[in-house]
């Protein structure tokens, strides 16, 4: 009896305010889709960061006859300089691991990494890539200390791989901030729309609620149809949002990941988790804002 009564009241309420309900559903769908996209990007950034931070190194290239750095004086690095540099690096607390890579190893690695573009490999000869120390840091942020310490004779250039990644992360972060900002604006719009819808509903049903009050229906019982009305609109909006999120994963996150050859792709498990979070957030948001509006427009 109760369930049927409540469901009937909700249906009447939603149908009476059809246009309001539709605009509410659309707003919630967009808000939740953007919110979810923001979450997905965040996870993508986190996943790629931890993947890359494990792998990035600081490369200390040593002088060769062809170095353009004037401090090299067109001389190959001497064995003594090499020893001093190695000792300095080993002693630094920020450094976790140092590996020496000679010209031949460097060339092998280069061939391996660019095996997909043979033209590129052919135009490069062994010896074009100078000897280097490949330095792994305990914390990639402490790169500056190493760069400072390597201002010594025999060093051509110090390259921090992190710099290259930073640009990519900046783009992802920017997208994420944009998505969350628009989501926030939409959330505010959704809250106000819920308020308006509930106010209209309360006005349309003032006869019923007045009688319910008089015959002693409990507050929960009077408010439930209104709150569920909001929650159902939120749920429908959330379902549309999850469709949008699947598209956003396919079109945005996956494509981005493909473009920059990210090894760590977001799995569908994570997407489903984000969808569940978005739908719950949408439902709670609408239910909570109906509840708050009711306190103003439905006297108990």
């Amino acid at each position: 009896m109760r369930v049927q009564f409540v469901l009937q009241e909700i249906w009447i309420g939603l149908r009476r305010n059809m246009t309001m309900t539709i605009s509410l559903v659309i707003t919630v769908a967009i808000a939740m889709a953007l919110f979810g996209t923001g979450l997905l990007l965040r996870q993508q950034v986190d996943a790629s960061k931890s993947y890359w931070y494990d792998k990035i190194e600081v490369s200390v290239f040593l002088c060769t006859k062809t170095s353009s750095n004037p401090s090299c004086q067109k001389q190959d690095v001497t064995d003594q300089q090499r020893q001093t540099l190695k000792a300095t690096l080993d002693k630094m607390p920020q450094v976790s691991h140092v590996e020496y890579e000679n010209k031949q190893q460097a060339y092998e690695r280069f061939k391996d990494r660019f095996s997909g573009s043979p033209g590129f490999v052919e135009s490069t000869r062994e010896g074009d890539i100078p000897d280097s120390f490949r330095v792994k840091l305990k914390n990639p942020e402490e790169y500056k200390a190493v760069a400072q310490a390597m201002l010594q004779p025999g060093v051509d250039t110090v390259i921090n791989e992190q710099e290259i990644l930073k640009r990519f992360f900046r783009i992802l972060n920017g997208l994420q901030v944009a998505a969350l900002t628009i989501a926030l604006i939409q959330v505010i719009a959704a809250v106000m729309l819920v308020g308006n819808t509930v106010r209209l509903s309360a006005f349309n049903r003032r006869r019923e609620t007045g009688i319910m009050r008089l015959v002693g229906a409990s507050n929960t019982y009077i408010q439930m149809p209104f709150i569920l009305e909001g929650a159902i609109a939120g749920l429908i909006g959330g379902l549309f949002a999850s469709i949008l999120l699947v598209f956003s994963k396919k079109l945005l996150v996956d494509r981005l990941a493909g473009d920059v050859q990210l090894v760590s792709q977001l799995g569908w498990g994570k997407v489903i988790a984000v969808i569940i979070v978005s739908i719950s957030f949408g439902v709670l948001l609408c239910a909570a804002s109906s509840f708050l509006t009711l306190r103003r427009y439905l006297k108990i």
Binding site: I211, V215, G216, S218, N219, Y221
Partner: protein, 229 residues
């Protein structure tokens, strides 16, 4: 059953109190007419019994409970024991007679079987046999008020409050409404009826409490409406 203990009510927007130092005791099973001109405080009196308003001073006791000590979430339970009838009937236009009466039980969560048994009994009690499936706009004013009384009484309240129940009804039909209220009173329900209708008060000879400018100016058993009006 209803006990007003030095009750004063001042609405925030008005200087003049709606009720001033009202003391009255209404016993179980009594039938009481509340008379007086518009604005004399009759409606405020009824609203205080329902705890729709709280007194500015003094205490209202209903069924032995001090309403000022009744927490808000218990107010619905108080209202389940009080039936209400109004001048404007307040029926739901999209529900028929049966559904209108059943509504009062549905919203307090009574089971369907109980509703199916009790509602027809009450419809018969108020004299609407065979009209259970009529819509409100197919009924006369007097019949609509009978539906409203049935709805107020279906949960067998201890108290029935009636605010000008005959205000929109012609005198001949009013007698019928009064007979229904009297029948309800005979089942042991306390009835408080606010009214302007001198003829009815004079004909029934019940207890009369007269309010003027928020004060009780007369409390008389087996009274009449009074000469002043």
């Amino acid at each position: 059953m209803i006990h007003f203990d030095n009750v004063t009510k001042v609405y925030p927007s008005q200087n003049r109190p709606a009720l001033q130092h009202v003391n009255v005791a209404i016993e179980k099973g009594e039938f009481l007419f509340l008379v007086g001109p518009s604005g004399s405080g009759k409606s405020t009196f009824l609203r205080l019994v329902l705890k729709e308003e709280r007194p500015s001073q003094g205490h209202v006791h209903v069924a032995g409970k001090d309403l000022s000590k009744l927490s808000n979430w218990k107010v619905p339970h108080l209202r389940r024991r009080i039936g209400c009838v109004f001048q404007d009937f307040r029926l739901l236009p999209n529900k028929n007679v049966f559904e209108n009466v059943a509504f009062a039980l549905e919203v307090i969560g009574k089971p369907r079987r109980f509703i199916g048994k009790v509602v027809p009994e009450v419809i018969d009690l108020v004299g609407l046999e065979g009209k259970a499936h009529r819509m409100p706009d197919e009924l006369s004013g007097g019949e609509q008020q009978r539906v409203a009384i049935a709805r107020a009484f279906v949960n067998r309240p201890m108290i029935l409050l009636a605010d000008e129940p005959t205000g929109n009804i012609d005198p001949a039909t009013s007698i019928g409404i009064m007979k229904v209220l009297d029948r309800i009173n005979r089942t042991g329900t306390t009835v408080v009826m606010a009214t302007h209708d001198a003829a009815i008060v004079d004909a029934f000879r019940k207890r009369v409490v007269e309010l003027e400018d928020g004060r009780i100016v007369r409390d008389q058993s087996r009274g009449v409406y009074g000469q002043a009006y």
